[in-house]
Structure formats: C-alpha cells, structure tokens
Amino acid sequence: MNKKNIKNNTKYPEGKKISGGMKFFLFMIFIYFIVYLFSKYLIIDALANTVMTFIKILPTLGLVFIIMIISNLYIKKGKIQKHLGYESGLRGWIFAILAGIFIAGAPYILFPLLGDLKKQGMKDSLMAVFLYNRNVKIPFFPISILYFGLAYTIIISLLIVILSVFNGILVGKMTSRIKT
C-alpha cells in the first residue's frame, strides 16, 4: 500500500478532527496576535469591524438557515434537478438570473445554501449565473446613479444580466472539462 492509500484509509475519531475552516480561523487569530505586537490600534479597529460586520450578517445567516431547513424538508433532489439541473433548459437560466437579482444576502452567506443545492443536482453554470447576477443590486441603484449616472447604471446592469449567461456557460465548461 503506497503513502497516498495509507493516508486515504486512515480514519480519525470524529471528535479529534480540526476542520480546514477552524484551522484558518486559528491562523487568523495567530496573525492578529503577531500584528497586535506592532500595531495595537490597527488590530482593535479590525476586530471591532469584524465583530460589527458579523453581527450585521447574523439575521441574514438566520434566514439562510431557515431556507436551508425548508429546502432540506420540501425541495427534493428531483425538483432541483428539474428546475436548476442539467435538464432544466431555458427555464433554469431564467430562474437563476431572477434568483440572483432578487435574493438578498452576501454571496459568502449564500455559499452553504448553494452547496446544499449543488449536492441536490444544481449545475455549476447556473450557480455561476446566480452569483454573477448578485451584482445587479436594485437597492443600491440610487447610490450608483448618484456617483456614475442613470445611463451608466442601466447599461452596466443590462450587461451584467446578458453576460452572466456567457459567464455561466464558460464556468460550466471549465468545471466539466476539469472533471472529465
């Protein structure tokens, strides 16, 4: 048995595993500790901003949690495959575009939900389309118009929607080519 097989076959007790995410979090604490030794105020500000941002995203995270429960309870694999899977056709693309525009929440909050949908059969190209259309931010239109003008805001929003389809096709092709 080679080294790779030994590694793959090694089973650790569940409780002793440290996830990659936790390792990253611990690494960041270490970085903060090191930077703190040189610049106390930078770390205090960064930590305060982190906690404030996290508190701000908590309600959305709670909403995502509820959507995930509903999705796990009522949305069956077959339905996801039908509406957002490989046989969803034009309807799937339209659904992904509209969902991307209208579903609120930062992409990183939606990753766990999308991960669930992917397991149930959502295809990569539609996930890319959904995430790209997150950038058509209707609530931010006033600020975009204020800084860049109405014509600019309309043009860029339309381009995002149209090009999101090409974006999805390209990402889909890249991931499927790598998989095969």
Binding site: I29, Y32, P107, Y108, I156, L163, I178
Partner: protein, 135 residues
C-alpha cells in the same frame, strides 16, 4: 424535521469559523489597501483598468462600499474605465472568499468562477464605457 434541522445547522456551523476568519483577514487588509487606491493608478488608458481589476479583486466589502470607493477614485481623477473595472471586480471576484467558496462549491468551481469573473470585469468595463460614449 429533526434531521433537516441538524443537517442545516451542521452546514451553518461549519461555515462560521471560516466566515469569521475571512472577515478578520479582510478587515485587517482593507484599511491598509484603501490608503493606496488612488496612488496605484498611472493615468495609462490600458494599464489602469487592469490595475483597477486587480485592486478590486483583492479588496472586499459590501457593494455599497465599492461604489463609494469608486466614486472617490473618480473624484481623484482616475478614469471611469478603471473605476468600473475596480467596482466590477470588487463585487464579482473575491480572492479572500476562495477558501469559503471552495469549501461549499468545490475548489475547481471557485477558481474557475473567479478567474472568469476577473476577465469579465474588464470586458464589462470596456463595453459599458464604449456604449456610454455612443450617447
């Protein structure tokens, strides 16, 4: 019901340390980066959009921050093309988010999507400004 709650809770709990860690990373780097935004542009028509796209890719924040930062760059005299590339890549490319995205959607998907989005930020910037000039 209990199974659905536990499954969803497990997914959310797994995401929290990495989400918090990424927020820590971003809030540490962004204040340092934001001091250099206006200094990194060169007034070069071809180079500035690329610089804007790179700066936007490694920056992070809620989209409204991207618009405000972009608006300030515009007032500092940076071209609209470069600012558009900056704002687009800020909102569509998330280098700092790749670990979290990889965890849930797969590394191949995360890398492909961010790679494609980087070039699309440049394409959309050029198209937006070109169309705008027609009016």
């Amino acid at each position: 019901m209990k199974e659905a709650i536990l499954k969803s809770l497990k997914n959310i709990l797994v995401s929290i340390p990495i989400m918090f860690g990424i927020l820590m990373l971003i809030n540490l780097i962004n204040p340092i980066l934001s001091n250099y935004y206006s200094k990194i542009f060169t007034d070069n028509f071809f180079l500035d959009p690329l610089i804007g796209a790179i700066a936007g890719s490694i920056s992070f924040g809620i989209p409204i921050t991207a618009y405000i930062a972009g608006g300030e760059l515009l007032e500092d005299g940076v071209s609209l093309l470069a600012v558009t590339a900056f704002v687009m890549s800020w909102t569509t490319v998330g280098v700092a988010m790749i670990p979290l995205e990889s965890k849930f959607l797969g590394r191949r998907f995360a890398l492909s999507r961010n790679f494609v989005n980087f070039f699309f930020a440049l394409i959309i910037s050029v198209l937006t400004i070109s169309i705008l000039k027609l009016f």
